[in-house]
Symmetry: C2
Subunit: 206 residues, 2 copies
């Protein structure tokens, strides 16, 4: 279909096509390697064409970040609608969705967190994703599955753990052999949830 589409003078969906190619390039070679001329070439279009859709390189990155955050939020929100036996399971699913997003869409992930893009749409979607995690942890507290009190440290700990795991993965910065994150990722999520619950029980006992 690409070969047919390429013949047409008007691309039809160049904006999204550019974003798609860009995400793939960033995933493979990092943000620095992103270059509008090659991008246009990959999309089968001349160098000037992208400027009908993005004011400049930075605007493209902003658009990618915004779309990334929206998809990210959608992934997490989908998890809320899935039936989970209890808030603990939901929390674990949220964490896994977070890491999964980074693994499946490393291009988006990189731009979202290193693109220096602070579009309001992006921050808002990021905030909503965070709120989801926050609410789930509060639900855990109510159900006795997380220690009572100020939820902020719990939220930050969970957020840091999944973000750290995702980041280490995407940056291939796990400088140690014998550790297989692919296998360990679910275990980490499960461990966190079990630890929340254990500390909650501990509090009740004391």
């Amino acid at each position: 279909m690409q070969s047919k589409a390429r013949k047409r003078y008007h691309h039809g969906s160049l904006r999204q096509a550019l974003i798609d190619v860009a995400v793939r390039v960033v995933a493979k070679h990092g943000i620095d390697a992103l270059n509008l001329r090659q991008l246009a070439a990959h999309a089968g279009v001349t160098t000037g064409a992208p400027y009908h859709h993005f004011a400049n390189r930075k605007a493209l990155l902003s658009a990618i970040a915004e779309q990334g955050f929206l998809r990210f939020e959608a992934d997490l929100t989908a998890e809320r609608k899935t039936a989970h036996p209890d808030p603990g399971a939901r929390l674990e699913a949220l964490g896994r969705a977070y890491v999964r997003f980074a693994i499946v869409c490393p291009g988006y992930f990189r731009v979202m967190f290193h693109g220096d893009s602070s579009s309001s749409g992006a921050t808002q979607a990021g905030m909503r994703a965070f709120q989801l995690l926050h609410d789930t942890i509060v639900d855990c507290q109510r159900g006795g599955l997380a220690p009572a009190g100020d939820p902020a440290p719990l939220v930050l700990t969970a957020w840091s753990a999944v973000h750290g795991l995702a980041t280490l993965w995407v940056d291939a910065a796990l400088p140690f052999e014998g550790l297989n994150p692919d296998r360990l990722t679910p275990e980490v999520g499960h461990l966190l949830v079990r630890m929340f619950a254990a500390l909650a029980r501990d509090q009740v006992t004391n």
Copy 2:
């Protein structure tokens, strides 16, 4: 002393001076903004001079990463030599040292984890730092301060949490108000250690 030193034809320690300036630039404006000409200018030297110390830009980044990892390792190792009441306290101190390094030296931190530099010196220092965390967690297990069994998930969880916290901080990617990481960072470390211990007790009880 800079003004005096600048008059001399030979700089004396240009190599380190360049690294120092580079780290400051990266801390402020990111790796992409690092540029050898400006760097030379900041160090009070002409454009060609850096090439007597670094083969090219990439070599400079590698040198920064390597030095960063060595300092990082030294920071963590120093914590091992400090007297701590128990392995749990040592683990907590290690975590705080990790995050502190990122906050104090964001320039090094960025290059270490995004510089695409994989010098063997750097990876080896990174491995030793990781080993330190690993050993401390095993000590916790022996002391009943962490759940028994395969330490790998515990290690990865702890590593992810501190790395995530550090990364979120350095990237200023904490997109939520009302959360003050400066205050919360020690709490996160403390929480993790307490959760390890709680889950350990839980295992004994069952």
